[in-house]
């Protein structure tokens, strides 16, 4: 078929023209809207400002071995991995993982990480993914505690 040639699957019947979208696509292919992504960004930034740790959030498939994939993601943060916390949620597999580095693991114990996982699951099992991520990050930040020089009491 030459470029620009008119086609019709059934002769004599009009087909609705649905061209591919052109220009900025907005949040069509994203689970979150722009406002929701801004909310998550603010929550992560607030957690980092208070705790001095690097927070990262992953949303997507984690493969067959979710733990190894999550640890690989944390290692992908490079030299900051020791002070990083990863909250990984795989809605398809219905799995939540929290991974802490060597230094952040001293601030956030495994029991505290479990608390964040539970609060994430509570929202995600209800279908509220953003609420789960926000609750998880805030719980982790609360457990890590505010640095004394950054507290404004």
């Amino acid at each position: 078929m030459a470029h620009g040639e008119l086609t019709s699957p059934e002769p004599g019947r009009a087909v609705r023209w649905s061209p591919p979208p052109v220009g900025p696509q907005g949040d069509l292919g994203s689970p979150f809207s722009t406002a929701e992504r801004n909310t998550l960004d603010e929550v992560i930034a607030a957690a980092e400002r208070a705790t001095g740790l690097r927070f990262s959030v992953y949303l997507g498939d984690l493969g067959p071995d979710t733990r190894t994939t999550s640890e690989g993601l944390l290692a992908g943060l490079g030299p900051e991995a020791t002070v990083s916390v990863l909250l990984a949620v795989s809605p398809g597999q219905k799995v939540v993982e929290v991974v802490t580095g060597a230094e952040s693991g001293r601030r956030i114990s495994d029991r505290s990480a479990r608390l964040a996982v539970l609060s994430t699951i509570a929202s995600c099992s209800d279908g509220d993914l953003l609420g789960g991520l926000v609750n998880g990050v805030r719980t982790l930040a609360d457990q890590a505690g505010t640095l004394p020089e950054r507290a404004n009491w």
Binding site: G29, T82, G105, A116, I121
Partner: protein
Amino acid sequence: MNTLQIIAVFVGIPALIYGFIAACTMLPGRAREKARRRIGETWEFAPQWWAGDTPVTVPADTVAPTGRGGAHGAW
């Protein structure tokens, strides 16, 4: 201008404008095309990974550089 004309200009035209704008908000837009995810559906979105950009100080001496803690949960 008689009374009918006055009503047409000062009531009819504003009502037309209001009606046009109201009709515009009811047209199907791109926002309506977005499929909201429901519980139990498969996850077909591409993986996304966010991290903050606040400067962090990495301590020079870490006790266990490969230590990995955390927790796992499923629902």
